[in-house]
């Protein structure tokens, strides 16, 4: 791999409506292994933010610990990042989000970070419907400590060393649906076409948008017998539908054939259109999503795409009835009740 990022860019790189090219959304050079799926996901985030014309500095990137959690340094270089402690990204993101409701929050985590050490925080961030994009880069192993099984490794899956995992996996997407997440998607790091619209919709979603991305570990979990290898995932992927994200600003041009297509309008008026491949599945019906996930699992399939969405539920700020001004923008004038009030309080304590 190369450690130097070429500074040269094509002079006529396309610009988005803010006048930015893709370059303004890139980060520093990745130190992950060549061919790592995580880098593809980073590129997808860059693409999605570019296409949505988001001000990069109005994004905060927060992660835990592990290979996945290193990636925030590799995208959106003009955004503040916070590489926190193992499994605790959700709480740091919660605090950051409480401080300023007017930014986009990307939480990046891995399968060790979320499904093991950080399981509790994952669960409670979902309960609170924190307004953020929560991406798990799921490779079924602990890459940064050289390939131990993670809690999402399938029973019987073989690691590079030949060790067969004897334990039941944690299915993060099913769990998220079960917990009442308001946006649950699943995808594959190699499927940029699917992932870009999913991330765009996740950003626009008003609440916690969870995306579980299968991202094979090229170094420690890409061997025959692994159920998280590139070949296995590619062969066992089953898309719930072909999807497209239509931002609010554009007129909706897609036409939907009755019975197979569906369009979900998000909070800000943008639309997620889905060309469904599974006739019985309805992304706004939690029961039907649970069924589809269980059936896919029985067939050893990995169901991808937008699995579940519920747009009517308020995020944590709405639940807490916080003021429209970001809390970090309030001053003494708003915050300090003053001397006179204090004298009254004193009088009440005599």
């Amino acid at each position: 791999m190369t450690y130097l990022k070429p500074l040269f860019r094509h002079p006529r790189l396309p610009k988005n409506k803010l006048g930015y090219t893709l370059k303004e959304y890139e980060g520093s050079i990745s130190t992950l292994c060549a061919g790592c799926g995580h880098d593809s996901i980073s590129a997808t985030i860059v693409q999605a933010c570019f296409e949505l014309a988001i001000e990069p500095h109005l994004v905060a990137k927060i992660s835990g610990i592990g290979c996945s959690s290193k990636t925030p340094a590799y995208f959106l270089g003009n955004s503040h990042g916070f590489n926190s402690v193992h499994g605790r990204m959700p709480s740091v993101a919660t605090g950051a989000n409480m401080a300023n409701k007017n930014m986009v929050y990307f939480g990046v985590s891995g399968d060790g970070d979320t499904a093991s050490i950080g399981m509790g925080q994952f669960v409670h961030a979902i309960r609170r419907n924190l307004n953020m994009v929560y991406i798990v880069m799921n490779n079924g192993c602990y890459g940064l400590t050289k390939g131990q099984d993670s809690a999402t490794a399938d029973v019987g899956s073989a690691s590079k060393s030949g060790h067969i995992n004897p334990f039941q996996p944690v299915d993060l997407a099913s769990l998220a649906v079960e917990l009442g997440a308001t946006f649950v998607a699943q995808s594959f790091s190699g499927d940029k076409q699917q992932l870009v619209p999913l991330i765009k919709a996740a950003i626009q979603h008003q609440g916690l948008a969870f995306i579980n991305v299968m991202s094979p570990c090229v170094t420690f979990n890409n061997n025959p017998g692994s159920t998280k290898s590139y070949d296995y995932v590619r062969e066992h992927m089953h898309a719930t539908g072909k999807m497209d994200f239509v931002p609010q600003q554009k007129p909706i041009q897609a036409t939907y054939a009755e019975g197979t297509d569906t369009a979900v309008t998000l909070h800000d008026g943008s639309v997620m259109s889905l060309h469904k491949l599974a006739p019985d599945w309805d992304p706004e019906d939690r029961l039907s999503t649970v069924n589809a996930l269980q059936q896919a699992r029985a067939k050893n399939e990995i169901l991808t795409g937008l699995l579940y969405i519920h747009t009517g539920y308020g995020d944590l700020h709405k639940i807490l009835n916080t003021t429209d001004t970001a809390l970090n923008g309030l001053t003494e004038k708003n915050l300090c009740p003053g001397k006179k009030t204090l004298d009254t309080i004193n009088a009440g304590l005599r």
């Binding site: 503040h80 402690v85 401080a99 930014m103």
Partner: protein
């Protein structure tokens, strides 16, 4: 070696006694007992009530101890003058705890068993249950008014002014006026009974004074919650744990009262009850990182859980405010008993080389002002600041100087660059020490489209926040943190010196809730011609005043409420003092330390080491 438990005091029996109430928790005794203490306060007489309660909601013994002191001693002292025993479970133990010549008030509805009769104390039987049953029909009221009846009896025996009690009851039941009359009736039942059956007043009693002035009576946790509102906290993340829970509750109560935008009805604050203390700390760090002032309140077990995050905030230089309401540890320890035993944990919380500023309040006023100060310090120093209070201060009502706030006081947000400042400068370096005080400049997320962004991390990085494992860069950063530590010494509250120049070769050093008993012990010793200089520590790191105080005394007694002499260890660790010079005076039974214990232990040490020429034991007996 056995030492006497109590020290004789001059026979000033006006406004000088200890009364203890032995109740069953969950029976409504708390409000009756508070009425008793508050009435004394309203009569202008210094008073300190303390709850001694079990880790239980209903059915176990609970005590309420009221110290009345004309001289204004607010700590505990040994020797119970009057015990109101209304709990059969603890009756035997309660009777044994009354000092020789003291009084026991009990419910005489049923005759006392012969094994509960003890020589040397006076028995005051009041048929509380019988009076309550005869006069009230509602079973819950019968239970509650039993408590008011004994307050009535005490009002006669101790000369509490009826009008004061009446006013307090009227205030308490404002809005529920129907309850005033039956409460007054119960009070009078007790008064009449005492008037008819006992000689009054007792040989200690109350007289109105003007010693309270503008003082207030409030618990430390309420003061901390209010201090956080005044200090500009907008985010509170917490997890329920005794004895800190009421800090979060007070913050929410005052914020709901004073921080709701009157135009929109929306909250200018956010309170999140986290899933655990780890998450609470993570939220505090996330919010502070993003430019809000955020705090958490916890106790020892929670602080243990937060350790990893505290180390991150120290190394990544993110402000944070923690309030540690200490309780008896280790592990679950005694959750409802007090100690000062998280000092070493807090000072060095987390792995690696890490140390944190600590503030030690001893009154509700200090809880208020130090909590507010914590936010300025955290922003100025970009590091976690821990307020070290304890159950005694946090959960008990204390007489205190009133809260003070300077009109138009501005918050010190520390070194934060805005967009214009970023535009005007060259390359921004998050960890560059521009002024030589070890404190670099930070930027809030979202400040500037192309400048000032960086990745915060617990991993080593260079001055520009770029990841590096270069040894020299790592060491430069660790050394800069030490420069910041030196700066910290000049910013934290200075200690309180009790004398302008040294008067003695011996000194005593104390902090937090050990203060009141230590001050009284100093007077007790002075009355026996043992002079001690004194210093109260208000913060860690220690400044040169503390250094000088220890260096210029042959012996310094370090008074604290833990087993291992944790403050003493910290003094030795930070200032390389000769350990032999520092002598621990400790109490760690979960009860607030008493003046008698301190004085006797110091006197005993001096005697054992032949430091005093005369035989001290005689002066004590």
């Amino acid at each position: 070696m056995t030492i006497p438990v109590t020290l004789p005091r001059p026979e000033a029996r006006v406004n000088d006694f200890v009364a203890r109430f032995a109740n069953v928790n969950g029976t409504g005794s708390a409000s009756a007992n508070f009425l008793f203490a508050k009435a004394i306060f309203r009569m202008g007489v210094p008073v300190t009530p303390k709850n001694i309660f079990p880790s239980n909601i209903q059915g176990l013994p609970t005590w309420y101890e009221v110290r009345v002191s004309e001289k204004g001693y607010l700590g505990r002292r040994e020797g119970i003058d009057l015990l109101v025993a209304v709990n059969a479970q603890s009756m035997k133990q309660d009777i044994a705890s009354v000092r020789e010549g003291g009084y026991l008030m009990y419910d005489s509805t049923k005759k006392l068993a012969p094994d509960l009769i003890r020589d040397g104390i006076h028995y005051l039987g009041v048929p509380m249950m019988e009076l309550a049953n005869e006069n009230f029909s509602n079973p819950r009221q019968r239970q509650l008014f039993k408590n008011i009846i004994y307050v009535g009896a005490l009002a006669i025996l101790l000369q509490i002014e009826f009008s004061v009690l009446e006013t307090l009851l009227k205030e308490q039941f404002a809005g529920k006026e129907k309850l005033i009359a039956p409460n007054l009736k119960a009070l009078k039942l007790g008064m009449e009974y005492a008037r008819e059956h006992f000689d009054f007043p007792l040989d200690f009693y109350l007289e109105r004074r003007d010693l309270i002035r503008d003082k207030i009576m409030v618990d430390g946790n309420t003061a901390c919650g209010l201090g956080a509102v005044y200090g500009g906290a907008t985010v509170m993340a917490w997890y329920p744990i005794t004895p800190s829970t009421s800090v979060a509750e007070a913050f929410e109560k005052y914020a709901t009262k004073y921080r709701v935008d009157p135009e929109t009805g929306k909250n200018q604050f956010a309170v999140v009850q986290a899933e655990d203390e780890l998450a609470a700390m993570g939220m505090v760090i996330g919010a502070n990182w993003n430019g809000a002032r955020a705090l958490t309140a916890t106790s020892g077990p929670g602080l243990s859980l937060m350790n990893e995050f505290i180390g991150l905030a120290y190394f990544a230089e993110v402000p944070a405010v923690l309030i540690d309401v200490q309780r008896a540890g280790p592990s679950t320890g005694m959750p409802t008993r007090t100690q000062q035993s998280d000092i070493t944990l807090a000072a060095n919380a987390s792995h690696g080389d890490s140390k944190h500023p600590l503030l030690f309040p001893s009154t509700p006023k200090e809880c208020f002002e130090m909590t507010a100060a914590c936010f300025d310090l955290a922003d100025r120093l970009q590091t976690p600041i821990i307020l070290m209070t304890d159950l005694d201060l946090g959960m008990n009502d204390h007489m205190s100087e009133p809260f003070q706030w300077e009109e138009n006081r501005k918050y010190d947000r520390g070194k934060v660059l805005n967009k214009e400042e970023l535009d005007a400068m060259g390359r921004y370096g998050r960890y560059l020490d521009q002024e030589g005080d070890g404190i670099p400049y930070r930027t809030y997320p979202g400040t500037h489209p192309t400048k000032g962004a960086f990745t915060t991390r617990g991993t080593s990085r260079d001055e520009y926040a770029v990841y590096t494992e270069d040894s020299a860069a790592y060491k430069r950063n660790m050394d800069r943190l030490l420069v910041k530590w030196e700066t910290t010494k000049s910013l934290v509250p200075k200690p309180q010196l009790y004398q302008e120049t040294n008067q003695s070769d011996w000194g005593m050093l104390f902090f937090g809730t050990s203060t009141f008993s230590s001050e009284e012990a100093r007077d007790l010793l002075a009355a026996r011609e043992i002079q001690l200089d004194a210093l109260r520590i208000k913060a860690f790191p220690f400044g040169k005043e503390t250094e000088t105080f220890i260096r210029t005394h042959q012996l310094v007694f370090v008074i604290e409420q833990n087993r291992d002499g944790q403050m003493r260890s910290l003094l030795i660790q930070e200032m390389q003092h000769d350990p032999l010079r520092l002598v621990s005076i400790l109490n760690y039974d979960g009860m607030p330390i008493t003046a008698d214990q301190i004085a006797l232990k110091i006197a005993d040490y001096l005697k054992q080491n032949n430091a005093v020429p005369h035989d001290l034991s005689e002066t004590f007996i």
